[in-house]
């Protein structure tokens, strides 16, 4: 398997196409309606953050699997990469309500709750890579 799709994000259109690609892949992998909505919403948050704070970047979507005692586990991985200003304090941006743009500040903590795995790798001045995974139940 491992169909991978990359979507460039440098306008609001990019956000929409990343979402669309995510919804299609989620459907293909067999996610139900609620999880499809969660995945699409998470992509929307990550892509919009790229557009707002880094101007441009990309969303990489991939079907993944891991072997476990119970058998093979399948999931969908979203990687949001940009070469923007980076995030100074990861702890701070993960607080509900923390925003530098007058938003709700619910995006990143929300994505963490929407997905099963969540990881931020960011270097100030160099960029940000956020990797999240949703596993099929």
């Amino acid at each position: 398997m491992s169909v991978q799709s990359n979507v460039e994000v440098h306008s609001e259109w990019g956000i929409v196409s990343a979402r669309q690609a995510g919804r299609n892949l989620a459907k293909e992998l067999g996610f139900g309606g609620v999880d499809q909505a969660r995945i699409t919403t998470a992509i929307s948050e990550l892509a919009r953050n790229i557009y707002l704070y880094a101007e441009k970047g990309e969303i990489v979507l991939e079907g993944i699997e891991k072997k476990e005692a119970g058998g093979v586990h399948r999931g969908l991985r979203i990687v949001a990469k940009d070469q923007g200003p980076g995030i100074k304090s990861v702890r701070e941006v993960m607080e509900d309500g923390y925003t530098t743009s007058g938003g709700l500040g619910a995006g990143l903590p929300g994505v963490k709750r929407l997905m099963d795995e969540f990881d931020i790798d960011s270097i100030t001045g160099e960029g940000t890579v956020i990797t999240v995974v949703k596993w099929l139940r």
């Binding site: 979402r19 609620v34 969660r38 919403t41 938003g103 709700l104 619910a106 995006g107 929300g110």
Partner: protein, 273 residues
């Protein structure tokens, strides 16, 4: 253009026209004459080639004017831009071939003629492309306007009650329109209750939620009440996961329930008779 060159072009006039018509018909056979009757085609070709030659005798702005009215008419009836550009390219080739086949012409004269013809035809091509893109921009502008009107309509369904059905993706541009249209519409229709129906919104992320919250707040400030309807179950879940508090909000599961509660708020109800 030098009078001697014009004179020379004119001396080839009939040959150029005949040759051009022959070649352009070949090009057209493969391309764009499927929908246009032959008679119309021949007529247009004749008019086009004569117009090209006619521009030689006109002053520059007169020539422009003539070209403009001709292209405007054809753009209107849907002729492709490639008809003009191909037509002009073929014209240039035919003319230059005829002129250079004249051995009596000194090579310096050949060069001069060449560049004169090039810049003459280039000028016409540029103008046509400009006219075309201008008309495209115009169309695009009109379509944007139409979309704008469609993107956030406020519909007065009962006295004092209006509905805004939102269908499709909400971007920042549209979020602005929603706010404007809501506030203007409330004043215009004297609405006391507005129902925002998000059944057709595919994704409600923090930005969309934020805009809806702000819109509801603004509605409250102008003295009306906002009820959010059409929250699909999966959307309700993601809103909760995002940690967005819609507690301050009136929400109803369906438009019908929303209307019932709107009627109640304005001290009315629907009865069967």
């Amino acid at each position: 253009m030098q009078p001697s060159v014009i004179e020379m072009i004119n001396s080839y006039r009939d040959e150029v026209i005949a040759q051009w018509k022959k070649e352009i018909t070949q090009v057209q056979e493969g391309e764009f004459n499927h929908t246009v009757p032959e008679a119309v085609f021949n007529e247009t070709n004749k008019e086009f080639v004569e117009l090209i030659l006619h521009t030689l005798e006109l002053k520059q702005n007169e020539a422009k004017e003539h070209l403009r009215s001709f292209t405007e008419r054809l753009i209107h009836t849907g002729w492709p831009l490639s008809y003009f550009t191909k037509g002009l390219q073929v014209f240039r080739r035919v003319l230059l071939e005829l002129m250079t086949s004249n051995d009596a012409l000194p090579s310096k004269k050949v060069y001069e003629t060449f560049s004169e013809v090039e810049s003459w035809i280039d000028g016409i091509i540029n103008q046509l492309v400009d006219e075309y893109s201008g008309s495209w921009e115009n169309t695009l502008h009109l379509q944007k306007l139409a979309l704008k009107e469609l993107s956030a309509p406020l519909i007065p369904v009962f006295e004092k009650i209006s509905v805004m059905p939102l269908v499709g993706t909400i971007d920042t541009e549209r979020a602005k329109l929603i706010m404007e249209s809501l506030l203007e519409g409330i004043i215009e229709h004297r609405s006391q209750v507005v129902l925002i129906d998000i059944t057709g919104v595919p994704v409600v992320d923090t930005m969309v939620a934020h805009h809806i919250i702000q819109a509801a707040e603004a509605v409250r400030l102008v003295g009306a009440k906002c009820i959010l309807v059409g929250i699909r179950p999966e959307i309700a879940q993601t809103i909760v996961n995002l940690g967005i508090d819609l507690g301050k909000f009136s929400t109803k599961s369906s438009l019908r329930k929303g209307i019932e509660s709107g009627l109640e708020l304005t001290h009315r109800k629907i009865v069967s008779v």
